[in-house]
């Protein structure tokens, strides 16, 4: 991924969030000695290139009572991985769904999905419904509920 110098400066200026004011892009532009339209266009280009996947409100759902969080990992046969990955990834309440490498012998799981809910029972019921809806009963899985959060902040670059 190649970012030019001005994109790098822009990413650094916006990654902590936009200022809450009437003309936030103009405020960023002033900081970077750019003009407002150039900032807006540069952000649009980063979105088109897929570097920024969304621009919007980043919610900390934990604070809204979504305190139960399960990472459900699945050991999916390679030939079914794409089908199962897309099926789980298309569920609106599955917030993340990634393929990651197996690390045998200790870690046989190659598909990771994240499920948030207001309590554990709801999350467990939801996992049951996913298994039923997508015929996953033959696929070994493990549920890892989250405990304490030791650190959480947005990813920072450079």
């Amino acid at each position: 991924m190649v970012l030019n110098e001005s994109d790098r400066r822009l990413v650094a200026a916006i990654q902590g969030g936009l200022p809450l004011c009437s003309h936030p892009y103009a405020a960023i532009a002033e900081r970077l000695s750019m003009d407002e339209q150039a900032v807006i266009q540069a952000i649009a280009r980063l979105q088109e290139r897929g570097i920024i996947k969304r621009m919007g409100i980043v919610v900390r759902h934990h604070e809204l009572g979504y305190t139960a969080n399960a990472m459900v990992v699945w050991d999916v046969p390679d030939e079914r991985l794409e089908q199962v990955g897309k099926a789980l990834g298309g569920e609106s309440c599955v917030t993340l769904c990634y393929q990651r490498p197996r690390r045998l012998p200790k870690w046989p799981y190659n598909l990771f999905s994240m499920i948030h809910g207001k309590d554990r029972q709801r999350v467990l019921n939801y996992i049951d419904s996913l298994i039923e809806a997508h015929a996953l009963d033959e696929i070994p899985h493990r549920i890892l509920f989250s405990g304490r959060r030791f650190k959480q902040r947005g990813a920072r670059y450079q």
């Binding site: 807006i40 969304r54 919007g56 870690w107 948030h116 405990g147 650190k151």
Partner: protein, 170 residues
């Protein structure tokens, strides 16, 4: 902090679980509609306000209040993983009784942005990002030497979900 009339029961701020804040209708619509698609116009908040039938001042006030309450971490970009620099998910099997000490060691690395306990034999999970793969590998190596524990290095291979933000009806 104004507590919305939509809350069914009063919220106890000292409670360990349960929501610390209850959203009113306008706040809920704002958070469901604008986790993506922030207008790229000179006055995005005025444009959002018009969509919601509210004033710009009210939208800015709500966002400021939710940010102050820690419900919103920011209004801005979410980067696609692995497009700028390198990133991995790492897991460790930390002996019981040492978790807090090891978690604090890992927290001290600026390359770490999330660090969680999970209820599993792999009980410490963290995300490491770095400007390059070499920097990332070096960081993981330093962590293993400092903690004396092997790291399960689980970089992303493929993403199957479409990130639309987190719907508040789940």
């Amino acid at each position: 902090m104004a507590i919305s009339a939509h809350c069914r029961q009063p919220l106890d701020p000292s409670a360990q679980s349960g929501p610390k804040y209850c959203l009113n209708n306008l706040e809920r619509r704002l958070l469901n509609l604008y986790q993506r698609g922030l207008p790229l116009t000179p006055t995005p908040f005025a444009d959002i306000a018009r969509q919601l039938g509210a004033s710009e001042a009210l939208v800015l006030q709500i966002l400021g209040r939710l940010q102050e309450a820690g419900i919103i971490s920011r209004i801005g970009p979410v980067f696609k993983p692995q497009r700028i620099g390198a990133c991995t998910l790492a897991a460790m099997q930390v002996p019981a009784g040492e978790l807090e000490r090891v978690a604090a060691m890992i927290n001290r690395y600026p390359e770490v942005n999330h660090n969680y306990e999970r209820e599993d034999e792999f009980n410490l999970w963290f995300v490491v990002t770095a400007p390059s793969q070499a920097h990332l590998d070096d960081t993981l190596g330093r962590m293993e030497r400092e903690t004396g524990l092997p790291i399960l290095n689980l970089p992303l291979i493929e993403q199957f979900h479409i990130d639309l933000g987190f719907p508040l009806w789940c």
